[in-house]
């Protein structure tokens, strides 16, 4: 009962904030609504028993990534746009319908796979979830973890290189 109430209020807030994110004309307001969406998603992760992921969501998304977005937006000095959506009523309707179709297909496929999901070992984890996650990350997924470190290094170098571009090959001096 209380679980259902918690889920539905959380779902309402998530959908409302996500809707505001994609519809407000001012990009700064969109970023702040996206922060609220991220915090709501962190609460949903906590609800699902993923405490560590919820904390990482708060720190990485609501903290780091969104601060990056807001700082870039402040660098640009953007006003609220008069035409924030691309034009064309027909093509806009087609885009919304294609997004809804994709979501419906994904939900249908996932729902039909729920029945064949193997849930016999769905008992409570014997250890703490975070401890188990750390053991898994540093044994089975160790190479993927190291590859992510190399990827982040490459991305850090690439970001500095891209942001120092001065006009490309067609630059006028």
């Amino acid at each position: 009962m209380w679980e259902a109430i918690a889920f539905y209020s959380l779902a309402f807030f998530l959908v409302f904030f996500a809707f505001k994110t994609i519809t407000v004309p001012n990009p700064i307001h969109a970023a702040l609504y996206l922060v609220l969406t991220m915090i709501g998603l962190g609460a949903a992760f906590f609800n699902l028993g993923a405490q560590f992921i919820a904390g990482v969501q708060m720190i990485v998304y609501a903290g780091a990534v969104m601060v990056l977005f807001v700082m870039v937006l402040m660098l640009f000095d953007l006003k609220a746009e008069l035409r924030s959506f691309s034009k064309g009523l027909f093509s806009g309707g087609l885009k919304v319908m294609s997004a809804a179709l994709l979501a419906g297909l994904a939900i249908g496929a996932a729902n039909s796979s729920v029945a064949i999901l193997d849930t016999q070992d769905a008992a409570k984890p014997t250890m703490d979830v975070t401890r188990q996650l750390g053991i898994l990350l540093y044994t089975k997924y160790l190479y993927a973890f190291e590859a992510l470190g190399i990827l982040l290094l490459a991305v850090a170098v690439g970001v500095v290189a891209v942001s120092r571009i001065k006009g490309g090959t067609h630059a006028q001096h």
């Binding site: 959908v15 970023a31 992921i53 977005f69 870039v72 294609s98 729920v114 996650l133 690439g158």
Partner: protein, 108 residues
Amino acid sequence: MLSIETFLHVGLAHYIFLSGILFSFGMIAVLMRKNVIVMLMGVELMLNAVNLSFIAFSKESGNLNGHIMVFFVMTIAAAEAGVGLALAVAIYKKFHEVNIRFFEHLRG
């Protein structure tokens, strides 16, 4: 089939439904907005919707591989946001506006 019991017993299907709604919102933002930064926010919203479905499936099946996958997706998303915002800064330096309309002038 649709009884009050279906609504009150929150299970995997509810979270999958919520995740699908959030994913379609992110996709609509990417397809319809003209500001590049808001399009990047739509991409972040889609990645987070997928994370939610990963965690829901992980809870349902009782193993932690979904958590690991969410961890990786978050890292990739942070990298992607960094690259996208750097590209937006490069575009802004050239055209003094970040609008998808200017992307057709980019040659070489």
